[in-house]
Subunit: 441 residues, 4 copies
């Protein structure tokens, strides 16, 4: 079954909903699996006060029983902790006139008519014919991404069974930048980094930058921007290891995996650029330096003890089958073929090639600035200077975590298309059969 996701909920409404349909039966899943990613989304140096208010916790209200998915749609509910302060301003019911009158003085009840450059405010109000920008900004807010992170945690759990590991790290905040650590390989195609070590370094940084020196400079840049009433964007990278050859397809434009991944990432709030592998750098290099030479090492046959393919598929039989097909904890099963570098970012012609997926996204700076930008009133057209008291200064680390979720969802969708199966057990069986086909190639 194709994976389908709908999310709902406003930033200051009662909460957020995600319904994820198409997850197979039998996946181990608890609220803690999801809360972990919700918490990671809320961290990061440079966030404003709201992150502390929220402390998101999911409630699973459908599709899961006794810690296992049922195959029915999974419903997730993330309450907004600030709801009690907004219950009148965001009430679904029409306001009671008396109460409205008494409410004079509560700014939350006044229409918002001052569009902020860089937000959906103006375009959305004109599109929908809304005279109160709040009708738009409540849903356009990045608060919605909490729902996508929750759904993404389910997808990650599924992929994790098969040894797929999705991680993110920050490569740039404003002018402070480091290069991607994963495109150039060591001798004979040796992986350039250990994914676990990279993750550890990332999680230890307040800005998700695995390079400690750059991390400190990024913190400093955020502090300086904040003092100037300004904001900063940046670039994050998503690394996915253990991906088998053969997800996605070349057969039609909208089946190509890079398109699906890039489209989903660009649809994340504030993202203005997406790259796969070398990305824009590939445009400046000659072909001989871009394409990834192909090597071959006979994969291990049955009977051979496979090297520990950490993290590798959780399921022992899947782990062994993947190893026989050439998976090594960095690469996924690919019949023993491998590359000497990864300029393609793990995708060629719309199809995964067994190397890790490498994607980057560029986030623009937060659009709510303390430092004013010229704007014009929605109703009168009168000019005013848009400025705001409270805001995040930089949300790139949070966006990276959301990016992981987005990639997990797209990849799980491609996974389900390829491996079918209504239950995790069927899917494992089909995955093992595929690995064995590759091992016997």
């Amino acid at each position: 079954m194709a994976l389908r996701l709908l999310t709902a909920g406003e930033s200051h409404g009662p909460g957020l909903v995600a319904v994820l349909e198409g997850v197979p039966h039998g996946l181990p899943l608890t609220a803690a699996d999801i809360d972990r990613d919700l918490a990671r989304r809320q961290r990061g140096y440079g966030r404003g006060g709201r992150m502390k208010i929220e402390q998101d916790r999911v409630r699973i209200v459908g599709g899961v029983r006794h810690g296992r998915t049922l195959g029915s749609p999974i419903a997730l509910w993330i309450p907004n902790r600030d709801w009690e302060n907004w219950s009148r301003a965001m009430a679904p019911e029409p306001p009671d006139d008396a109460a409205q009158a008494a409410a004079d003085g509560d700014w939350r009840l006044e229409p918002v008519t001052r569009p902020r450059p860089g937000h959906a405010d103006l375009a959305g109000a004109l599109k929908y014919g809304a005279r109160d920008i709040r009708d738009v900004l409540e849903r356009a807010s990045a608060r919605e991404t909490a729902a996508r992170v929750a759904a993404g945690a389910v997808a990650r759990k599924l992929l994790g069974l098969f040894g797929i590991r999705i991680q993110s790290y920050v490569l740039r905040i404003g002018e402070v930048a480091i290069p991607s650590p994963v495109l150039e390989y060591g001798e004979d195609g040796r992986p350039p980094v250990d994914p676990a070590a990279l993750e550890e370094a990332t999680e230890a940084s307040p800005v998700r930058c695995p390079d400690p020196v750059a991390s400190e400079r990024m913190v400093e840049a955020i502090r300086t921007a904040g003092q100037a009433g300004d904001t900063l964007g940046g670039v994050f990278e998503i690394l996915v290891t253990g991906v088998p050859v053969g997800l996605g397809s070349h057969a039609s434009g909208d089946r190509r995996l890079e398109g699906r991944l890039a489209g989903a990432l660009m649809a994340l709030n504030a993202i203005k650029g997406v790259e796969v592998g070398l990305g824009f750098a590939a445009a400046a290099l000659p072909g001989s330096r871009v394409h990834d030479p192909i090597g071959f090492r006979p994969p291990r046959r049955e009977g051979t003890e496979p090297a520990p393919a950490a993290p590798g598929p959780a399921h022992p039989a899947a782990r062994a089958a993947a190893a026989r097909a050439g998976a090594d904890g960095w690469r996924g099963p690919a019949a023993g073929f491998f590359r000497y570098r990864n300029g393609a970012g793990g995708i060629e012609g719309g199809i995964t090639n067994g190397e890790p997926l490498v994607l980057r996204a560029a986030m623009k700076p937060i659009a709510t600035l303390r430092r004013p930008l010229p704007s014009a009133d929605l109703l009168t057209g009168e000019p005013f200077a848009a400025h705001h008291e409270r805001s995040d200064i930089c949300a790139v680390p949070a966006a990276a975590v959301v990016g992981e979720a987005i990639v997990a969802l797209e990849l799980a969708a491609a996974w389900i298309e390829k491996f079918g199966g209504d239950s995790v057990d069927d899917m494992l069986r089909n995955y093992i059969a595929y690995c064995e086909r590759l091992a016997a190639w």
Copy 2:
């Protein structure tokens, strides 16, 4: 009706098919409208011999009668002119044994087992279990994009009725690059270029670069790369003027227009990066320099003679209504609101804001190199040096034209969602009503 497209056909098969469903009734359309773009796709310095063979011409075989669309699915057929040389190698029917025997010596009938780095060859063969890479490369070839260009020409024709103009130009070939000419505006938000002049300069260049000096240097870079047996990629930009405020939506991730556009562009063969507006540059700048200040000029009211909004909607009533709502040939109708620059590339929060759309895509160099790259045989794993006699050296100008088609298709889909209507006349009526709502804002 939602717009749907399927294409079919192999590179050396009898031809290419595109079926485009959801185009309204009454759109003027002839084969010449489509052939124009097919011809533009075949131009460009650095192409190999095949472009001369093909000289694509479309045959409309469904959905059009007497020069107007019927509202039924439009079927387009583009014959492959080289088919007679490939009719045995690519025959749909199983080969006759005797004929097969006689065929010894025809390399077209031998299985391809040597995967080329940078192509779908290896990943596709492993995915599908194909022992002959031809089963994959025939469809993974960029030849398929001719079908998308043909379908895109229909979308362009539809959008053109409403004054939407889609053009592309090349910003980079290898190391030779120019900056985007359209993001920074003149005083008081004056458009930085005249779209018609930009188009003229572009079409005059053998590499679609509107800057004559850079154009010459690009030609030189291609010549040099070709002499070295190498290939080059580059960057193209798509500019869409006349876009009304309000296409796309912030309401769900997969409704956001930038995601749909970026996903479709990344799904074009050889694209490795996509940007909207400032793109990656936005990640390095502070918020105060990124977001686009909002201005307002009262739009012209009925009775006022609108300034000539060239090219503007083809239909006079639509042209007048758009002008009253603030359209000026650069911007589309947006109730008189405008921006002092266009760092957002015309989209905020998933929704068009009335400024032109600005998208860039990075293309990697052609993967078929005369200069060999190490590879391994599909069946034996034996190493070999992949090299090829004939190939394009650079296809960025062609990709830019395909990019126009892709953007046209996505934009037409969003257009149809917003304006509904089963016929072009209904759609015009709905568009005019929207413009009038904006004009009266």
Copy 3:
């Protein structure tokens, strides 16, 4: 925007969720609009005890503010009132062992292994590899239809603005049956019934049968079946008045409106047959008695006071425009064309023709019987006699109400495709323009 719906939630879980995406901005909507249909779904002679427990009430948790839709996804939450009794049996979290031990004796915690003929029990357990049928039956239960009714109430509210009225009534319970009251017209094509009177008679019947005599006999049949430990099915009809000509399309199989409506109705639990218009009766008649002769009365022009088109579009301008285009409270706008009977059920060639939609669905008897049916244990294959204590005897009246919701959702989807518009105001404008085009035909 296309209308999308996902529902989630198990029969004895915490509650049901519906997320409905694509509803335009500005639709008046309150919980009371939805609760009305939820209550109607729970009525009907022959229901078991659970209907009293539930007393469904919706909570709107997204997409609506101050009594109006925002254009963002609408999230609806219907708590299951029996949840506290099932919170351990249906807990999303893995059971605590101690608690589990203490639970001995609670049948709710024991696996269900005895499949009931006529339910998804056996097929679902085998499909998903579930050893506990509860994993399947909880979602396969008709409890889910409460979520579809809630979403359908939103669609009904939207369509109601344009004078579309959706009603249902029961034509058969077991052997007691009446013919459709709406296919044969009076002289000169006069409508055979007044929809309001038909609705009143229907709502007054405990089995939704507008014929009082048949209604009593149906009640009696249910009582008799219940005494025999048996169950009954039946047939309901959906009547939709005020539908404009031109929804749906002939252009592709999956655009044909009858296919979309029939598919959605057949997907309702326990439905085994669907008819449009004459349905199966058409197969036995000659063509001359089946097809609906076409008549024409010049529609009223502007300036003419239109006759009261009760209920008619709620919006005065839409009401007037519809009347000018020939709408009369029975038929929708169709340029003055009408039919002398309605054997087609309002759809020809996939497209509404202006006459009311008439659809019928056949419901099989409730599959949970007090009277035993032979079955075999899921795990051992041992034969047993499936019998059950508590159950509904007949749910046809409830299914009819769900059928209204299903038709409302499909029709709203077709409506949005045709009329586009992001807000109810835009949609009204487009609808009026269409009526005016028809009026001037």
Copy 4:
């Protein structure tokens, strides 16, 4: 990959196109496989002259090489043999004025303004704003179903590999009817008929009725109706044997297989009713006589020689695995569970239960009558009597063949969702693993 189909082409245009995307790699397929069904669609007593003109032959123009599918979209082209007589009336290009003038007297060039009751003529012309009904009738014609039959032949070929057999027969023409031969089983659940014998009897009848006496009476009824200038409809049944338990899903309304099948069948031209299993008869019976008792016979284990499961999966390993899981040529694999009758028509709760699928569809009489029906001119509203010279009298046998194709396409889509796999070999492997899971149940 999800299966997607678009068709295009007008009744008197150059031909019909079908693009079918999502078929796995490696399916044996030739034009003869498709032509067989195209020919079956053209047979049947009661067809007019056109069937002789057409003699459809498909040309495969994409997605197939050397008799095997490539995994890329399959493109099928069916030329209209009458095209040369219509090349001016249906020319895609605008007419040349001189030629137009010379054409005076050719009725094919005159606008059609007289809508035929029972066709899309009037509704379509009003919807699209077409002043010439030909713009609508050309696509609304049942000629389009040839494209669906061609695509369905591909789906049938795929399903045939797994022992799934799809056949149809006519149960009613006008007043002559026979009951379904397949719902009531023999003792101990013995299948009531031999599918091969049923097919043989069907194909021998000029009206696809397997009962020779009824067949003769049907022919007579058609002859009589034709002499009276009238037309006849009827009912056909689709029987699908060898279907494994577990296709479709209960989890969401639009995943339920009966909904997808019924929606697709109702979308076939002229269909007004669809039933699954007992259909409307179930509404009149008590539950104890409707639901299908469940039995169990231990399926054969590995090592046991399975009884010949004719036709059974073509692939020997799949055939053996299916037999071990309980398949017997009538039922598909279902872990040894079976039913004592088949009132459910093989689907419970949206999921196949291992028994054969049984679907019926009611076709209204042909709407083009020699005997006139009152109608009104599209442009003037003037009444006229619609009558026509040439037409089919009865097309139920042809519709039955189209119904097979439609069911094949929906079933193949559900198959691909469940079993995944990019190649037929992968799919076989996954199918066998599923059978083995069921066999070991």
